[in-house]
Amino acid sequence: MIIPIRCFTCGKLIADKWEDYRRMKIEGKSADEIFKELGITRFCCKRMLVSHVNLIDDLLAFNRLQ
Protein backbone atom coordinates (compact mmCIF):
# COMPACT_ATOMS: atom_id res chain seq x y z
CA MET A 1 0.00 0.00 0.00
CA ILE A 2 2.27 2.77 1.28
CA ILE A 3 5.78 2.33 2.65
CA PRO A 4 5.61 1.38 6.37
CA ILE A 5 7.07 3.92 8.79
CA ARG A 6 9.37 1.41 10.48
CA CYS A 7 10.94 -1.95 9.78
CA PHE A 8 8.61 -4.69 11.04
CA THR A 9 11.41 -6.63 12.70
CA CYS A 10 13.87 -4.17 14.21
CA GLY A 11 11.96 -0.87 14.28
CA LYS A 12 14.38 1.21 12.23
CA LEU A 13 12.85 4.22 10.49
CA ILE A 14 12.51 3.50 6.74
CA ALA A 15 9.64 5.72 5.51
CA ASP A 16 12.05 8.64 5.03
CA LYS A 17 14.35 6.55 2.83
CA TRP A 18 11.77 5.33 0.29
CA GLU A 19 11.96 8.35 -2.07
CA ASP A 20 15.77 8.30 -2.09
CA TYR A 21 15.70 4.55 -2.71
CA ARG A 22 13.30 5.01 -5.66
CA ARG A 23 15.37 7.83 -7.14
CA MET A 24 18.64 5.95 -6.90
CA LYS A 25 17.05 2.79 -8.27
CA ILE A 26 15.87 4.71 -11.37
CA GLU A 27 19.35 6.21 -11.74
CA GLY A 28 20.56 2.64 -12.13
CA LYS A 29 22.60 2.21 -8.95
CA SER A 30 23.05 -1.26 -7.53
CA ALA A 31 21.10 -2.24 -4.41
CA ASP A 32 24.38 -2.68 -2.54
CA GLU A 33 25.44 0.92 -3.20
CA ILE A 34 22.01 2.29 -2.30
CA PHE A 35 21.85 0.49 1.04
CA LYS A 36 25.34 1.67 1.92
CA GLU A 37 24.37 5.26 1.16
CA LEU A 38 21.11 5.03 3.12
CA GLY A 39 22.80 3.45 6.15
CA ILE A 40 20.77 0.24 6.01
CA THR A 41 22.83 -2.68 7.30
CA ARG A 42 20.42 -5.45 8.37
CA PHE A 43 18.53 -7.67 5.96
CA CYS A 44 15.22 -7.11 7.76
CA CYS A 45 15.27 -3.43 6.77
CA LYS A 46 16.50 -4.23 3.26
CA ARG A 47 13.54 -6.50 2.54
CA MET A 48 11.15 -3.72 3.60
CA LEU A 49 12.34 -1.55 0.71
CA VAL A 50 13.10 -4.29 -1.81
CA SER A 51 9.76 -6.07 -1.48
CA HIS A 52 7.56 -2.98 -1.22
CA VAL A 53 4.85 -2.38 -3.88
CA ASN A 54 3.46 1.16 -3.81
CA LEU A 55 -0.19 0.25 -4.43
CA ILE A 56 -1.42 3.64 -3.20
CA ASP A 57 -0.57 5.10 -6.62
CA ASP A 58 -3.22 2.85 -8.19
CA LEU A 59 -5.81 3.77 -5.57
CA LEU A 60 -5.29 7.49 -6.15
CA ALA A 61 -6.84 7.08 -9.60
CA PHE A 62 -10.24 6.48 -7.98
CA ASN A 63 -11.64 9.72 -6.66
CA ARG A 64 -13.06 9.18 -3.21
CA LEU A 65 -14.88 12.51 -3.22
CA GLN A 66 -17.30 11.56 -6.01
Binding site: I5, L13, I40
Partner: protein, 292 residues
Protein backbone atom coordinates in the same frame (compact mmCIF):
# COMPACT_ATOMS: atom_id res chain seq x y z
CA UNK B 1 32.81 -2.36 35.56
CA UNK B 2 34.82 -1.07 32.61
CA UNK B 3 33.43 0.53 29.47
CA UNK B 4 35.37 1.12 26.28
CA UNK B 5 33.74 2.74 23.26
CA UNK B 6 34.70 0.97 20.05
CA UNK B 7 32.80 2.87 17.41
CA UNK B 8 30.21 5.65 17.08
CA UNK B 9 28.33 6.55 13.92
CA UNK B 10 26.06 9.58 13.77
CA UNK B 11 24.61 10.98 10.57
CA UNK B 12 21.19 11.58 8.98
CA UNK B 13 20.49 7.91 8.44
CA UNK B 14 22.07 6.09 11.35
CA UNK B 15 22.87 6.85 14.99
CA UNK B 16 24.65 4.00 16.75
CA UNK B 17 27.33 3.14 19.28
CA UNK B 18 29.38 0.01 19.90
CA UNK B 19 31.12 -0.48 23.23
CA UNK B 20 32.83 -3.18 25.24
CA UNK B 21 31.44 -3.82 28.72
CA UNK B 22 33.83 -5.61 31.06
CA UNK B 23 33.56 -7.18 34.54
CA UNK B 24 29.78 -7.46 34.37
CA UNK B 25 27.80 -10.67 34.74
CA UNK B 26 25.59 -11.89 31.91
CA UNK B 27 22.46 -11.31 33.99
CA UNK B 28 23.38 -7.70 34.75
CA UNK B 29 24.22 -7.00 31.10
CA UNK B 30 20.89 -8.46 30.00
CA UNK B 31 19.05 -6.45 32.65
CA UNK B 32 20.69 -3.31 31.29
CA UNK B 33 19.63 -4.24 27.75
CA UNK B 34 16.04 -4.87 28.78
CA UNK B 35 15.81 -1.59 30.68
CA UNK B 36 17.03 0.33 27.63
CA UNK B 37 14.34 -1.37 25.55
CA UNK B 38 11.35 -1.21 27.84
CA UNK B 39 11.83 1.37 30.61
CA UNK B 40 13.47 4.48 29.15
CA UNK B 41 10.69 6.98 28.32
CA UNK B 42 10.38 8.92 25.09
CA UNK B 43 7.72 10.86 23.18
CA UNK B 44 5.25 9.48 20.64
CA UNK B 45 1.84 10.41 19.25
CA UNK B 46 -0.83 8.78 21.40
CA UNK B 47 -4.14 10.33 20.37
CA UNK B 48 -5.28 11.73 17.02
CA UNK B 49 -8.43 13.70 16.20
CA UNK B 50 -9.31 13.73 12.50
CA UNK B 51 -11.20 16.75 11.23
CA UNK B 52 -10.99 15.79 7.56
CA UNK B 53 -9.52 12.83 5.72
CA UNK B 54 -10.04 12.37 1.98
CA UNK B 55 -6.96 10.21 1.46
CA UNK B 56 -7.21 6.55 0.38
CA UNK B 57 -5.94 5.53 3.84
CA UNK B 58 -8.31 5.03 6.74
CA UNK B 59 -8.12 7.25 9.83
CA UNK B 60 -6.81 4.31 11.87
CA UNK B 61 -3.95 3.62 9.46
CA UNK B 62 -2.83 7.24 9.49
CA UNK B 63 -3.12 7.37 13.29
CA UNK B 64 -0.97 4.24 13.55
CA UNK B 65 1.60 5.68 11.16
CA UNK B 66 1.72 8.91 13.19
CA UNK B 67 2.30 6.92 16.36
CA UNK B 68 5.34 5.18 14.91
CA UNK B 69 7.08 8.41 13.84
CA UNK B 70 10.00 8.97 16.25
CA UNK B 71 9.86 12.43 17.81
CA UNK B 72 12.74 14.34 19.31
CA UNK B 73 11.87 14.01 22.99
CA UNK B 74 12.35 16.18 26.02
CA UNK B 75 12.30 13.88 29.04
CA UNK B 76 13.49 16.57 31.47
CA UNK B 77 10.60 19.03 31.08
CA UNK B 78 7.72 16.63 30.50
CA UNK B 79 6.05 14.28 32.97
CA UNK B 80 4.83 10.78 32.44
CA UNK B 81 0.97 11.04 32.37
CA UNK B 82 0.52 8.82 35.45
CA UNK B 83 2.97 11.00 37.43
CA UNK B 84 1.50 14.32 36.25
CA UNK B 85 -0.60 16.61 38.45
CA UNK B 86 -3.43 16.52 35.90
CA UNK B 87 -3.84 12.78 36.50
CA UNK B 88 -3.27 11.75 32.90
CA UNK B 89 -6.04 13.90 31.39
CA UNK B 90 -3.53 15.93 29.42
CA UNK B 91 -1.99 19.31 30.22
CA UNK B 92 0.94 21.36 28.92
CA UNK B 93 3.28 19.58 31.35
CA UNK B 94 2.65 16.11 29.93
CA UNK B 95 1.36 16.68 26.41
CA UNK B 96 2.37 18.46 23.20
CA UNK B 97 0.24 18.93 20.12
CA UNK B 98 1.05 18.41 16.46
CA UNK B 99 -1.34 19.81 13.86
CA UNK B 100 -1.52 19.25 10.14
CA UNK B 101 -3.68 21.01 7.57
CA UNK B 102 -3.00 20.20 3.98
CA UNK B 103 -4.95 20.75 0.77
CA UNK B 104 -3.58 18.95 -2.27
CA UNK B 105 -3.19 21.06 -5.43
CA UNK B 106 -1.64 18.29 -7.48
CA UNK B 107 -2.29 14.58 -7.92
CA UNK B 108 -0.08 12.42 -5.73
CA UNK B 109 0.80 15.08 -3.15
CA UNK B 110 2.82 13.48 -0.37
CA UNK B 111 2.01 14.40 3.21
CA UNK B 112 5.33 14.36 5.02
CA UNK B 113 6.53 14.91 8.56
CA UNK B 114 7.58 18.47 7.66
CA UNK B 115 3.84 19.32 7.37
CA UNK B 116 3.35 18.60 11.08
CA UNK B 117 3.32 21.84 13.06
CA UNK B 118 4.24 21.42 16.72
CA UNK B 119 3.21 23.59 19.65
CA UNK B 120 6.60 22.91 21.26
CA UNK B 121 9.67 23.50 19.06
CA UNK B 122 11.56 20.78 21.01
CA UNK B 123 9.04 18.07 20.13
CA UNK B 124 9.38 17.61 16.37
CA UNK B 125 9.77 14.56 14.10
CA UNK B 126 13.39 13.43 13.79
CA UNK B 127 13.27 13.81 10.05
CA UNK B 128 11.43 16.04 7.55
CA UNK B 129 11.13 13.35 4.90
CA UNK B 130 8.94 10.72 6.61
CA UNK B 131 5.97 9.89 4.32
CA UNK B 132 2.64 9.89 6.17
CA UNK B 133 0.03 9.71 3.36
CA UNK B 134 -0.57 10.46 -0.29
CA UNK B 135 -3.44 12.62 -1.58
CA UNK B 136 -5.17 13.09 -4.90
CA UNK B 137 -5.94 16.51 -6.42
CA UNK B 138 -8.46 18.55 -4.44
CA UNK B 139 -8.55 16.30 -1.37
CA UNK B 140 -7.48 17.44 2.03
CA UNK B 141 -6.15 16.06 5.30
CA UNK B 142 -6.63 17.80 8.60
CA UNK B 143 -5.91 16.42 12.05
CA UNK B 144 -4.65 17.16 15.54
CA UNK B 145 -2.24 14.70 17.13
CA UNK B 146 -1.36 14.64 20.82
CA UNK B 147 2.03 13.36 21.92
CA UNK B 148 2.91 12.10 25.36
CA UNK B 149 5.73 10.33 27.14
CA UNK B 150 5.53 6.58 27.49
CA UNK B 151 7.68 3.50 27.95
CA UNK B 152 8.50 0.67 25.57
CA UNK B 153 6.75 -1.86 27.78
CA UNK B 154 3.38 -0.31 26.84
CA UNK B 155 4.03 0.01 23.11
CA UNK B 156 7.04 -0.36 20.80
CA UNK B 157 6.53 3.21 19.54
CA UNK B 158 7.91 4.43 22.90
CA UNK B 159 11.19 2.56 22.51
CA UNK B 160 14.04 5.06 22.25
CA UNK B 161 16.21 2.53 20.36
CA UNK B 162 15.54 0.48 17.27
CA UNK B 163 17.97 -2.28 18.23
CA UNK B 164 20.04 -3.01 21.29
CA UNK B 165 21.99 -6.22 21.64
CA UNK B 166 25.17 -7.70 23.01
CA UNK B 167 27.43 -10.59 22.13
CA UNK B 168 30.25 -12.48 23.77
CA UNK B 169 33.76 -11.18 23.44
CA UNK B 170 35.74 -13.61 21.23
CA UNK B 171 39.10 -15.10 22.20
CA UNK B 172 40.77 -16.88 19.26
CA UNK B 173 44.18 -18.52 19.65
CA UNK B 174 46.21 -20.04 16.82
CA UNK B 175 48.96 -22.57 17.52
CA UNK B 176 51.29 -21.64 14.63
CA UNK B 177 53.57 -24.63 15.26
CA UNK B 178 50.89 -26.88 13.78
CA UNK B 179 50.71 -24.68 10.66
CA UNK B 180 53.92 -26.23 9.20
CA UNK B 181 52.06 -29.09 7.51
CA UNK B 182 49.89 -26.70 5.48
CA UNK B 183 52.45 -25.53 2.94
CA UNK B 184 50.75 -22.95 0.77
CA UNK B 185 47.16 -22.44 1.82
CA UNK B 186 45.17 -22.05 5.04
CA UNK B 187 41.84 -23.83 4.68
CA UNK B 188 40.51 -22.43 7.96
CA UNK B 189 41.42 -18.87 6.95
CA UNK B 190 39.47 -19.20 3.71
CA UNK B 191 36.44 -20.41 5.65
CA UNK B 192 36.28 -17.32 7.87
CA UNK B 193 33.26 -15.29 6.66
CA UNK B 194 34.88 -12.03 7.80
CA UNK B 195 38.38 -12.92 6.42
CA UNK B 196 40.07 -12.36 9.76
CA UNK B 197 42.90 -14.92 9.33
CA UNK B 198 45.83 -14.06 7.07
CA UNK B 199 48.32 -16.73 5.93
CA UNK B 200 51.93 -16.08 5.06
CA UNK B 201 55.34 -17.73 5.60
CA UNK B 202 53.80 -21.01 6.75
CA UNK B 203 52.02 -19.21 9.57
CA UNK B 204 48.40 -18.28 10.06
CA UNK B 205 47.88 -14.96 11.82
CA UNK B 206 44.87 -13.10 13.09
CA UNK B 207 44.46 -9.55 11.85
CA UNK B 208 44.79 -6.69 14.33
CA UNK B 209 41.65 -6.05 16.40
CA UNK B 210 39.93 -9.08 14.93
CA UNK B 211 37.39 -9.08 17.78
CA UNK B 212 35.58 -6.10 16.27
CA UNK B 213 34.39 -8.22 13.36
CA UNK B 214 34.48 -11.78 14.74
CA UNK B 215 31.01 -13.28 15.12
CA UNK B 216 32.24 -16.36 17.09
CA UNK B 217 30.92 -18.66 14.35
CA UNK B 218 33.75 -21.13 15.07
CA UNK B 219 34.00 -22.21 11.41
CA UNK B 220 37.79 -21.66 11.51
CA UNK B 221 38.14 -24.15 14.39
CA UNK B 222 35.80 -26.58 12.65
CA UNK B 223 37.59 -26.64 9.28
CA UNK B 224 41.24 -26.46 10.41
CA UNK B 225 42.73 -29.89 9.44
CA UNK B 226 45.46 -29.66 12.13
CA UNK B 227 43.12 -28.43 14.88
CA UNK B 228 45.46 -25.52 15.50
CA UNK B 229 42.75 -22.96 16.16
CA UNK B 230 40.82 -22.64 19.37
CA UNK B 231 37.83 -20.32 19.72
CA UNK B 232 36.61 -19.31 23.17
CA UNK B 233 34.38 -16.66 24.63
CA UNK B 234 35.72 -14.39 27.36
CA UNK B 235 33.41 -14.60 30.36
CA UNK B 236 31.96 -11.39 31.80
CA UNK B 237 32.99 -9.33 28.79
CA UNK B 238 30.47 -8.26 26.16
CA UNK B 239 30.24 -6.16 23.03
CA UNK B 240 27.13 -3.97 23.10
CA UNK B 241 25.48 -2.44 20.04
CA UNK B 242 22.90 0.31 20.57
CA UNK B 243 21.16 1.87 17.61
CA UNK B 244 18.86 4.77 18.41
CA UNK B 245 15.83 6.02 16.47
CA UNK B 246 16.88 9.64 16.99
CA UNK B 247 14.23 10.26 19.66
CA UNK B 248 16.91 10.69 22.33
CA UNK B 249 20.69 11.02 22.08
CA UNK B 250 22.27 7.63 22.83
CA UNK B 251 24.27 9.07 25.72
CA UNK B 252 21.02 10.22 27.38
CA UNK B 253 19.45 6.79 26.82
CA UNK B 254 22.34 4.97 28.52
CA UNK B 255 22.52 7.37 31.48
CA UNK B 256 18.74 7.26 31.97
CA UNK B 257 18.76 3.45 31.79
CA UNK B 258 21.38 3.29 34.56
CA UNK B 259 19.35 5.71 36.69
CA UNK B 260 16.24 3.55 36.30
CA UNK B 261 18.27 0.42 37.09
CA UNK B 262 19.51 2.07 40.29
CA UNK B 263 15.96 3.08 41.26
CA UNK B 264 14.75 -0.49 40.77
CA UNK B 265 17.53 -1.93 42.91
CA UNK B 266 16.82 0.60 45.65
CA UNK B 267 13.09 -0.16 45.52
CA UNK B 268 13.84 -3.87 45.89
CA UNK B 269 16.17 -3.23 48.83
CA UNK B 270 13.53 -1.04 50.46
CA UNK B 271 10.93 -3.76 50.07
CA UNK B 272 13.30 -6.30 51.62
CA UNK B 273 13.75 -4.06 54.68
CA UNK B 274 9.98 -3.63 55.04
CA UNK B 275 9.30 -6.98 56.73
CA UNK B 276 5.64 -6.27 57.39
CA UNK B 277 4.95 -5.89 53.69
CA UNK B 278 7.37 -8.50 52.43
CA UNK B 279 8.22 -11.06 55.07
CA UNK B 280 10.98 -13.55 54.34
CA UNK B 281 8.41 -16.31 53.94
CA UNK B 282 6.60 -14.31 51.30
CA UNK B 283 9.82 -13.85 49.29
CA UNK B 284 10.68 -17.55 49.46
CA UNK B 285 7.13 -18.33 48.40
CA UNK B 286 7.19 -15.93 45.45
CA UNK B 287 10.64 -17.12 44.34
CA UNK B 288 9.46 -20.72 44.31
CA UNK B 289 6.32 -19.62 42.48
CA UNK B 290 8.37 -18.17 39.61
CA UNK B 291 10.80 -21.14 39.68
CA UNK B 292 13.74 -18.89 40.55
Amino acid sequence: MKVEVVETIKNDNIDMIRFVLEDVSLELANGFRRIILSEVPCMAVDEVIFLENDSPLFDEIIAHRLGLIPLKSDIENYNLPNQCDCGGVGCTLCRAELTCTIQADLDGTLVKSKDLISTDPNIVPVNDKIIIAKLQKGSSLEFEAYTRLGIGRDHAKWQPVSTVGFGNFPDVTIDSKKCQSCSNQCIAGDRCPESLIKFGGNKAKLIKEYWKECTVCKSCAKYCPEEAIEVNEVSNKFIFVVEGTGALPIKTILIKALEIFQEKVEEFQGNLANKELFGLEFIILSFSFYNL
